[in-house]
C-alpha cells in the first residue's frame, strides 16, 4: 500500500502557469493564473487569479468547483474543450501517437508547430509549442474563430 501511495505521489507533476485568452468577438484578452497538475489519468487546474476555482478533467468529463458551486461538463459535447485537454495531456506525456492523430508535427529548433488534420481542422488552426531545455515553456492554441489561448509555464 505504501508503495502504491509513493507511486501515486511521484506519478503526478505540478506546474505554475499563466493563461491568456484572446476573444476575437470582443477583441479582448483576459488573464488567469494558477497551478496545473498532471496525474496518471486526470488533469487538475487550480486557478488562483483572478478568482479561485478548481477544474478537474477526468474521463472526458470536466468538473468545476468555483464560487457558483460544483458542476460537470461532458467534453464530448464541446469539441474545443476536449481538444484543449487532449493537447495538454499529449504534450505533457510526450505522446506522439496521440498528437499525430490530430496534427502533422513540424519541428523548428525548440518550437513544435502542430498543424491540424482531419476533424481537428474544423475547430483549430494550429498549436505552437515552445520548449526550453526539454521542458514545455509555452503553448499557443490558435482557434479557427480567431480566438487564441496561450499558456506559459512559470517554473
Amino acid at each position: 500500500m505504501a508503495l502504491l501511495i509513493q507511486n501515486w505521489l511521484f506519478a503526478e507533476s505540478t506546474f505554475h502557469f499563466r493563461e491568456t485568452r484572446y476573444f476575437y468577438a470582443l477583441d479582448q484578452t483576459i488573464s488567469l493564473e494558477g497551478d496545473i497538475t498532471f496525474r496518471e489519468s486526470s488533469i487538475l487546474l487550480e486557478y488562483s487569479q483572478p478568482e479561485q476555482k478548481l477544474l478537474t478533467f477526468f474521463e472526458n468529463t470536466l468538473s468545476i468547483q468555483d464560487a457558483q458551486g460544483y458542476r460537470m461538463i461532458d467534453t464530448n459535447t464541446t469539441p474545443m474543450l476536449r481538444y484543449f485537454f487532449l493537447i495538454l495531456q499529449a504534450i505533457h506525456e510526450e505522446n506522439q501517437t496521440l498528437l499525430q492523430t490530430f496534427f502533422y508535427i513540424q519541428k523548428q529548433g525548440e518550437t513544435q508547430r502542430l498543424v491540424t488534420k482531419d476533424i481537428a481542422k474544423e475547430a483549430l488552426e494550429e498549436v505552437i509549442v515552445a520548449m526550453h531545455q526539454h521542458q514545455v515553456h509555452s503553448l499557443q492554441v490558435k482557434i479557427k474563430n480567431g480566438d487564441r489561448i496561450t499558456i506559459e509555464i512559470k517554473n
Binding site: Q28, L45, N76, L86, L98, T101, F102, I119
Partner: protein, 710 residues
Amino acid sequence: MIGLPLKSKIKSLTLIASLILVVLFVGLKDSIKISTNILSFLPGERTQELFDIFGKFHHSQEVLISVKGFNQESLQKILEIEHRLQESPLLKNESTLTVNPKLLNYAKEHSFYLRDFKPETSSALSISDKLKELREAMIKNPYYTSIDKYDPLGYFSPTKLPIEFTMQNGHLALGDFGYLAVFSLNESARSQEAYEQIYDLIHQTIQNVEGVRAFSPLFYFVENAQKIKNDVTLLVWISTFLLLAVYAFMIKNLSLLFYTIIALINSALLSLMLTAYLFNDVSIFVLAFGNSIGTLAIDYMFHHYFHHHYEETKPFNKAVFYGFLTTFVGFALFACIDFPLIRQLCVFAMLSLLISYAQFAFLFPHIRFKAPTKLISWKLSLPIPYRFITIGSVILIGILIPLTHLDTNLRNLDYQNTKLLQEEQFFKKNMQKEAYTPFLLQAPSIDVLISQSRQIQQTFSKSIVPISYLYDQTFAQKRTQEFASLNFDSIRKTLQEEATKLGFREGFFSHAYNPSLLNPDHTALTLQDIHDMGFDILQYKDHYYTYGLVKTFDTARLNAMGNVQLMDANSLFINALYAISTQFMIAGFFALLLIAIILVRECRKTFFESASYVVFPAAMILVLGFQNLSLIQLFIIFITTAFGIDYGIYVSQSTHEESESKQAILFSLASTFAGFGILIFSHVGALFFMGYSVCIGIGAITLLLTGRRV
C-alpha cells in the same frame, strides 16, 4: 462383350456406368456450390430476398476490434492494427477521424434543418440579455467558451444521439474496456472466399497482440462453415466406415457387398449432381443427410435378398414397391413446401431412393447373387399387445401435439459456437447495443424512406436509424414556414445593434441566421448523394431500403407500423414458418392419408401390428422431445412414419417367413442406425436433432420387432 453371358454383360455395364458417373462427378465437383449457411435455406423467397438486401449494407458485417486499456501502448497497438487492416482492399476503416467532405458540407449548409429548433422570444430586451449572458460566459467561465456566430441566441441544438460514441484520447473507445477500431466491408468483400480472407487477415494481424478482442458477424460464416464442414466430414467418414462394417457382417457375400456399395455410390453421386443442377447452392446438410438416406435405400436390397429375389426368378416384390412408393410420395409431398432446406433434403431423398430402388429391384435380380446364410435365428418373441400400442400411441399423439412447443430458435439448428456468441455479447454490451434488434425499412422513394426513418426515431427514442439524420421535403416545408413566422431579418438587425452596444466586434454577427442557412437548397437527395455522405441506402427493384436498430422490447410496436421488417433470424423464421404452416399441414395430411390407405389396402390382416410401426415411433419422438420440438424433428417424425410404414408392410406379408422379414428389418435398422443414428454425435443442431429423433424411432421399431401378436 458380345460373347459374354447376360449376367456378365450386366455386371460390366454396371461398372462402366459407375465409372462414367465418377468421372462426371470429379469433373463437375468444383461447380457444385456447397453452402454451410443455414440462413440461406430459410423458408420463403421474400425472406431470402430480405437477407440478401440486409447483407449488402456496409454495416451489416462490421468488424470490431478492441485493445484493452487507454494508455499510450494500447493506442499504439490499435493504430497499428488499423494501419495494417486498412491496407486491405476488402476493408474500410470507419474509426478514422477523417471527415467525409460531402457530409460536412451538407451538415454546414443544412445545419438549421438538421438540428432541433426551439425559438424563444426575440424582443430587443431578450436579445440584449442573451448577448450579455454570452459575453459574461466568455470572460468569466473558468474554461474557454466560444460563441456560435451563426446561432448566438441558441435557437438550434444538436439532436441527441441514442448511443453516444465514446472517445478516449481522440480515439473511439469500447466502454471502459479499451480502444475500438471499426471496419466495414467494401463492395468486393461479399463472398465466402472474401470472408475467409478477411478472417485470416484479422487473425494474423492480432495474433501476437496482447489484450485484443475481435468480433464480426462474418466470423460465424467462416468459423461455423469450417466447423460444420469438419463435423459433417467426420460423421460421413465414421458413418461410411460403420456401414461398410455392418454390411460386411450382414451380407457376407463379397460380390453382393461390392455391387451394393457401387449402387449406393451411384445413387448418391447422381442424386447430388441432379440436386446441384436443380438448386443454386446445395446445403451441406444434404451431404450428411444423403449419406444417411442410403441406409433407407439399402432396405430394398435386404428385402429382395432375404426373400431370395436375387437367387431365383420370383414375381415382382409388391411389398418393397409399396414401401418405396409410400416413402417416395411422402418425400414428394414435403418437397412441395416452400422451405428450401426441407425441399432440398426431400428432392435429394426422392432421387436417391428412386435410383437405389431401380438398381435393387430391377438390376440386381439379373446379376444374380448366392442365397443368404441365415444369420439370426429369431427366438426372442415377447407377447406385445400391438392393438393397445397403436391405440395408445394415437391417443398419446393426440394429447401431446397441443402441448408441444415448436422450437423456433434458429441458432439451435446451427453450429453451437459458444466462444463467438460470447464475443458478440461482449461487444454488444460495451457498445450499449445489447437487446437491440435490427430491422429493414422500405419505401417507394428516398424522401419517404427518410420521412419514415425520422418518424421511427421520434417514436422510439432509443432506436438507431442512421438516415434519420437527414430530413425530408415535408419536414423542410414545415420548418421553412416556422422560420417565416419569426422574421429573422429583424432579429439579425437587432442582434447586430445590441452586440455593438455591448462591445462585440462590428459585424461579428452579420452572418447570424443568414438566408442561405434559413433557406438552403432543398433539392431532393439522390441515391449517389446519400452514398457519398456515407449512409446506407439500397435500391432493389422499385423500392428503397435502409436499416436500423430498435430496442427488442419495442419490436412488436415497430412491426405494427408497416413497411418494416425485423431482421433477426428468429423473427424471420417464425414469420416464414407461419407463411408455410398451411402447406406443412396439407403435406402432413396427405402423407397420413397415404399411409392410412396403404395400411387399409395392404395390411388389412395385420392392421394394428403394421400401424404400430407408424404411430409408436412418432409417439416416442414426441414423448422424448419433452414438449419442445425443432422443425427438423417434426420433419423427422414424418420421415420415421414414412419408413415405419415400410416395416408395417413387410411384417404384414404372410407369404414371407416371419423370421426372414424380421431379419431383413433388423439389418435395415442396424444400417439405419449407422447412417442416421451417428448424427446424434454432431455438434450441429440440425444434424443432432435428426440423429436423436431417428435413434428414438429405431429404438421403438426394434422394440416392436421383438414381439409376437397376443
